[in-house]
């Protein structure tokens, strides 16, 4: 079957919500919130539709669409097919998975945003804009379009953090902006070098051009330049991921941004880094990537341990989770560094799984903060008395995050290490320490909150209620589903995996 | 007449230009500064006229150009003086170094 404009519809459907919201009276809180959530549904439906029709055997190529967008350099260039930038969307298995993840988490985050206290209108408009950006990033087929969407995520985040965040929100917003600004600046350089020297920005064409001998280019690209570009890419996406030592912005965001936004941020935005590394790093520069594999693995182990050890001494639960994100992104790097089927698939799994898990955890943080107005470990304790369900879910989330079998975290962690052990056993063994540390810091934090003597003022608090059920159940459900039946995730990925590995020649 | 080499004229112009520049950048009195700018422009005129006579390939246009530049210079200085006057009205001084209200 044919899917004309399917992806455009999927990506831009939140726009409708934005327009409707624009005509919504500022004060109509419930109406705005309802609309905000509803506006995220179309993309969700379409995403799921795409997923199932793909599992139903329809070809993803049917989804792609392409129009002439910008032609630089005039007719002359156009005739020689140079410097044309098309508006082209499309998805492969990986993209599909990410799109589904995005749509799901976006909807849940929109629900979670019911906790927002002020100016819902502006909030939801920015929120939906953010969703457009994220969906676009995963479907863009050429670098410039990708960059466009990439930056579109930047601006709403700046406002969402800076306006609806906690005490130091503006500082957080700024460091978010500047770090990511730098990251995308570097990314832009890479993109522009590629574009203006090869004359195309289409990812597939770039893959072909850069990996065939004396392919037609506008200006030559030397091997060393390729390596330089890849390193630049690593930096650019390293900021997003984040890779030590480019991570400090992300801590502030995790702590200062409203939980519903952190769900999005930690759930998807961080993953754009991994997506980019795999899609562009591996996709466009396979040979150079192979040369960097060891570096990546080492960085991964550093991330893993660094994050874990620092999470162990944090006094604020949000900080613990922030560092745990760093630590878990280390596993992605490990997987990529392994550079074999298991590793890469593990990395991708980790991307998805951490997306779900951190979304869950941060939603629960939001719930907790609603009641207790603190996330400091010292002030909390014995919450299992007042809110047994929430505590239970929190514990479940922690278990998933520390890689308990039967939950998504384990599958990804396992595969990543499986991969790395084949290539660099010793390094992997060192990294395995991280598995222990993860358990240590997560239990320390979660037990400090849920177990122990119940603080008096927290005994009476209400447990998970009404709308709060939706995100919790959906996320837990998905986490367990992937953990028990990983095929839901692994099947769509196989095709992508093969192309990547073919490029690497592994 | 042709005993004087071209380089002399050029040197003269250059010197004049530098004097003008020096004046423009150092003198405190705005009027003098404006006059110094005149000097610089006149240096240009000397160049032009010289070239139109002894240039690599001489032509009359140089003198035309000189005329234009004289006219323009006149206008420019006129405007400068006008502005100076309104400035003087407000602050009773023509010292350029006292005009530093606008700065970081």
């Amino acid at each position: 079957m044919e899917f004309n404009y399917f992806l455009s519809l999927l990506v831009f459907s939140p726009l409708l919500g934005i327009l409707l919201l624009a005509f919504m009276p500022k004060t109509n809180e419930s109406g705005i919130k309802m609309l905000g959530v509803l506006a995220t549904l179309p993309s969700l439906v379409l995403a799921l539709l795409a997923y199932f029709s793909y599992r139903g055997g329809s070809d993803l190529a049917n989804f792609s669409e392409k129009f002439r967008w910008i032609q630089f350099g005039g007719q002359g260039a156009e005739q020689s097919g140079m410097f044309t930038v098309n508006y082209e969307l499309g998805i492969d298995g990986f993209g599909l998975v990410m799109v589904v993840l995005t749509a799901v988490i976006a909807t849940l985050a929109a629900i979670a945003s019911f906790h927002i206290k002020k100016e819902w209108k502006g909030y939801y408009m920015l929120f939906l804009l953010l969703e457009i950006g994220m969906l676009g990033v995963f479907t863009a087929q050429n670098l410039i379009l990708f960059f466009l969407f990439f930056e579109i995520t930047l601006i709403p985040m700046f406002f969402l953090i800076g306006k609806w965040g906690y005490y130091e929100k503006e500082k957080a917003a700024y460091s978010f902006l500047i770090y990511n600004g730098l990251g995308s600046a570097v990314l832009l350089i890479v993109i522009m070098v590629l574009f203006s020297r090869t004359g195309t920005s289409n990812i597939d064409m770039l893959r072909v051009i850069l990996n065939t001998e004396n392919a037609p280019m506008f200006a030559p690209i030397s091997e060393s330049l390729k390596m330089g570009l890849l390193v630049a890419l690593l930096v650019a996406f390293g900021v997003k991921l984040p890779i030590f030592p480019l991570h400090s912005w992300m801590l502030r965001v995790h702590v200062e941004a409203p939980p519903s936004i952190v769900m999005i941020h930690s759930g998807i935005l961080l993953k754009i880094g991994a997506f980019g590394l795999i899609r562009f790093g591996m996709g466009i520069f396979p040979e150079q990537f192979a040369d960097l594999a060891v570096l990546l693995a080492v960085l991964g182990v550093i991330n893993l341990l660094y994050g874990a050890f620092l999470a162990f001494i944090q006094t604020d639960f949000k900080m613990v989770l922030a560092y745990s994100s760093i630590s878990h992104m280390g596993i992605v790097l490990i997987g990529l560094g392994a550079l074999n089927e298991a590793g890469i698939q593990g990395a991708i799994f980790q991307v998805v799984s951490h997306g779900l898990i951190s979304a869950l955890l941060f939603f629960l943080v939001g719930v907790l903060y609603e009641r207790t107005h603190t996330t400091t470990l010292a002030n909390l304790g014995g919450m299992a008395k007042g809110m047994p369900l929430a505590s239970g879910f929190l514990l479940a989330g922690a278990m998933a995050s520390l890689g308990l079998p039967g939950m998504s975290g384990f599958v990804s962690e396992f595969m990543a290490f499986l991969g790395l052990f084949e290539e660099m056993p010793v390094l992997a063994a060192v990294g395995a320490l991280g598995i222990i540390m993860t358990a240590v810091y997560l239990l320390r934090a979660v037990l400090a909150i849920t177990y122990g003597k119940a603080e008096r003022e927290f005994v009476g608090v209400s447990d998970i209620r009404s709308f709060e059920w939706a995100p919790v159940l959906v996320l837990i459900g998905l986490i367990v589903l992937i953990g028990v039946y990983p095929a839901v995730l692994s099947e769509p990925l196989q095709a992508t995996l093969e192309t990547i590995l073919m490029g690497i020649g592994g | 007449m042709s005993s004087v080499p071209v380089s002399a004229y050029l040197a003269l112009a250059l010197i004049l230009f530098c004097i003008g520049l020096y004046g423009a950048l150092t003198k405190k009195n705005t009027v003098i500064v404006l006059i110094s700018i005149e000097l610089m422009l006149n240096a240009v005129n000397i160049n032009l006229v010289t070239f139109s006579k002894y240039g690599a390939n001489p032509s009359i246009t140089g003198q035309v150009f000189a005329l234009f530049s004289i006219a323009v210079a006149a206008a420019e200085v006129a405007v400068g003086l006008a502005i100076l006057i309104s400035l003087y009205r407000n602050r009773r001084s023509v010292n350029i170094d006292e005009v530093n209200q606008l700065k970081n």
């Binding site: - | 003008g20 705005t30 610089m40 035309v64 420019e76 350029i96 005009v99 209200q101 606008l102 970081n104």
Partner: protein, 506 residues
């Protein structure tokens, strides 16, 4: 010359200039004979009509094959038309601003002069755009400068205004002297002031002495003209003059006059120094202009750094924009440095975008400053509350100035990057500086955002907009977004009608 020859010229090519000239005459006379009490606003509208008329006639001239009259002193080639479009567009917008500009300290009683002085300045820019001879170039330049001096001092009884005018005139004098001095050497070696003639002479130039002198002349002319661009090293007047001058004038200086500066610099550099052959080691001669690339690059880098870095410390919004305009001049110089085959497109498009976003921003600045009588940045606090339209508009312009995708500013930068990176020795350093400084600029651009959106408003009273300003804001905002999302509208227009400026020297 007798009447026949005079009549033999195709005066039609000068229609736009004649229209402007005519309106200058009308306005001046009208202003003279109008009774004192009549509001001079009407003159402004007349002037605006004039500019629009000129614009229309110019559009009607598009497509006429290149003609040059008055013995090649005035040429109407695609280059001239293309840039005149921008100039007149800018002029029209500024006119609207000027109409709504209310200020005491001496402007009110000679507002009439304002308009025709302004028009004569515009006339100057137009002559610069289409002059084929050093003399006309120079005269055009001064025709722009001298009225600008007066305009800057328009607020007679305001010291700042006087001061800015004074500084402007002194620096202007020095700069034109330097320029002229350089030109005199050019003439000396060429023996003619006609650009085409100079080109032919220089084409056959062999004597290294002469070439060496031309090199010096190049520096003088370039530095002299950099006054008009407000680029290093002749940039320092800009902040003071911008601050002191009436806001519409500032807008004019920042947008139109700068554009004119680039027009003239392109004319001179390309048509004169583009033809001077410089022997290389390999005996293959290259144009002097290319030999000078590194110097221009150096100046461009310096300009970008200075502009963006010093802007960080500004509290006065007009000074801030002065520095930002310096920075933007630097960006455009990057395109000039590259001298790739899309340099023209890049500069043209960037100037178009720049005029739009800058004038839009100044429109809003004018409203705010007029409201508060002060130009401190803190008056933007809570603008979002007081007038969402203004806040959003300003947001758009700032994003565009900061070069965020989805705005014209981004596409403009894209063009420049391409140009700088596609040439054989790509200017990686320069591009890196450009991008790095762009990120630095986020600090102050988003500082305004912070004020507008995050900070509480000092007063809750709403701001109502005068007609003209509203129009300006809408036009510029729409343009900025439109050319950001569909840049092809502009780029294709450029290519279909002007065909790469092939006739630049013909």
């Amino acid at each position: 010359m007798d009447l026949e020859t005079l009549l033999s010229f195709d005066w039609g090519t000068m229609t736009p200039e004649f229209i402007i000239l005519g309106f200058i005459a009308i306005l001046s006379v009208a202003d003279l004979f109008m009774p004192k009490h009549v509001d001079r606003k009407i003159l402004g509208w007349v002037g605006f009509a004039g500019v629009v008329l000129a614009l229309a006639s110019l559009v009607s001239l598009i497509g006429t094959d290149t003609t040059s009259i008055l013995y090649d002193t005035f040429r109407l080639d695609s280059f001239a038309i293309a840039f005149k479009l921008i100039l007149l567009l800018g002029a029209a917008l500024v006119m609207l601003l000027a109409i709504d500009y209310k200020h005491n300290d001496g402007l009110e009683d000679n507002k009439g002069e304002f308009f025709y002085l302004f028009l004569s300045a515009v006339l100057g820019t137009m002559f610069m755009a289409s002059s084929g001879d050093l003399i006309t170039l120079f005269v055009g330049l001064e025709l722009l400068s001298i009225p600008s001096y007066i305009l800057a001092g328009m607020r007679k009884r305001n010291m700042k205004s006087n001061e800015s005018a004074m500084k402007y005139v002194l620096n202007g004098g020095i700069s034109s002297a330097i320029t002229l001095f350089g030109m005199s050497y050019v003439f000396g070696i060429a023996g003619t002031t006609n650009l085409k003639g100079i080109a032919t002479v220089f084409g056959g130039l062999t004597d290294p002495q002469h070439i060496y002198i031309l090199g010096l002349a190049f520096f003088m002319i370039f530095v002299g003209l950099s006054f008009k661009l407000a680029s290093a090293p002749f940039h320092m007047w800009a902040p003071d003059v911008y601050e002191g001058a009436p806001t519409p004038v500032t807008a004019f200086l920042g947008a139109v006059s700068k554009t004119a500066g680039f027009v003239i610099i392109l004319r001179i550099l390309l048509s004169i120094f583009g033809y001077v052959p410089v022997a290389q080691e390999d005996g293959q001669p290259i144009p002097l202009l290319f030999a000078m690339q590194d110097y221009i690059a150096f100046l461009a880098g310096a300009t970008m750094i200075i502009g963006n870095v010093i802007a960080l410390r500004q509290r006065n919004i007009k000074r801030l924009f002065a520095y930002s305009s310096i920075a933007h001049a630097g960006y455009i110089l990057v395109a000039l440095t590259a001298m790739s085959f899309i340099t023209f497109d890049a500069i043209w498009f960037y100037l178009l975008a720049y005029v739009l976003m800058n004038l839009g921003a100044f429109a809003i600045i004018q409203v705010i400053t007029m409201k508060n009588g002060s130009e401190d940045i803190s008056h933007f606090a809570g603008l979002y509350r007081r007038s969402p339209l203004l806040a959003v508009g300003m947001g758009i312009f700032i994003l565009s100035l900061a070069g965020i995708p989805g705005t014209a500013g981004f596409i403009g930068k894209l063009n420049i990057f391409m140009g700088a990176l596609m040439v054989d020795q790509a200017h990686y350093v320069l591009v890196s500086i450009m991008i790095a400084t762009t990120v630095v600029s986020y600090f102050y651009y988003f500082g305004i955002m912070t004020q507008m959106f995050f900070r509480p408003a000092s007063s809750e009273e709403k701001i109502q907009l005068p007609m003209g300003t509203l129009v300006v804001i809408l036009v510029t905002a729409v343009g900025t977004i439109l050319f950001g999302i569909m840049p092809n509208l502009a780029i294709d227009f450029l290519h279909t009608n002007f065909n790469q400026f092939m006739d630049f020297m013909r």
